[in-house]
């Protein structure tokens, strides 16, 4: 089983709606990052949240971290069609530069 995994394989919303992607992990972490990968491109970091933080925001994005339940969420408000992508959570563990990615959640935002 994966060390990090998103809880939904695919989500679909209408433009303007809000959506939340969840992630659970199984090892200790120093930080958790959310990445977005659009078709034909490499992943791009959206938010980084450290293990001593509970929440972090970046514009329309909000990430939470619950180390007791080993879970994280990424919420997107007022979604736009260009938010359509695959969203990954990725963990930094004590090994430093190594990132462990979840399986990804494909988000489709429809007009």
């Amino acid at each position: 089983s994966q060390l990090a995994e998103e809880n939904s394989w695919a989500l679909s919303v209408h433009e303007g709606e809000s959506v939340t992607v969840n992630c659970s992990y199984k090892t200790s972490i120093t930080a958790l990052q959310w990445y977005r990968q659009k078709s034909g491109k490499g992943p791009a970091q959206l938010i980084l949240i450290r293990s001593n933080e509970r929440e972090n925001r970046n514009g329309r994005l909000r990430a939470t971290l619950d180390t007791s339940s080993q879970s994280s969420s990424l919420s997107i408000t007022a979604t736009r069609c260009e938010d359509t992508a695959v969203y990954f959570c990725a963990m930094n563990n004590n090994a430093g530069a190594k990132l462990t990615f979840g399986g990804g959640t494909r988000l489709t935002v429809r007009p």
Partner: protein
Amino acid sequence: GALVYQYPRRTICKSGTSMRMECQAVGFQATSVAWYRQSPQKTFELIALSTVNSAIKYEQNFTQEKFPISHPNLSFSSMTVLNAYLEDRGLYLCGAREGGRDTQYFGPGTRLLVL
């Protein structure tokens, strides 16, 4: 801003042949470079982590004999896939990081097709 370029973007090679892919960091110093493979069936598989002035660390199931990596300076890394076969197909991603920072900047990937 920090950018990572990868080339070629796409390559096709015959089974049993080898191909080399390159990764270039612009706008920051790529102290460490991680090479991943992303296939439709799996998420990211970390192949190896290279840190300048340190030994390259390969993950289980990946070896230097199969995926030799060069990381000669703070802006460039290359990896070769030797004797490529069908199971080596996928999108090879380079993720570069500066110093002790947590953010990895990824290139667009090199898509390898093996015939």
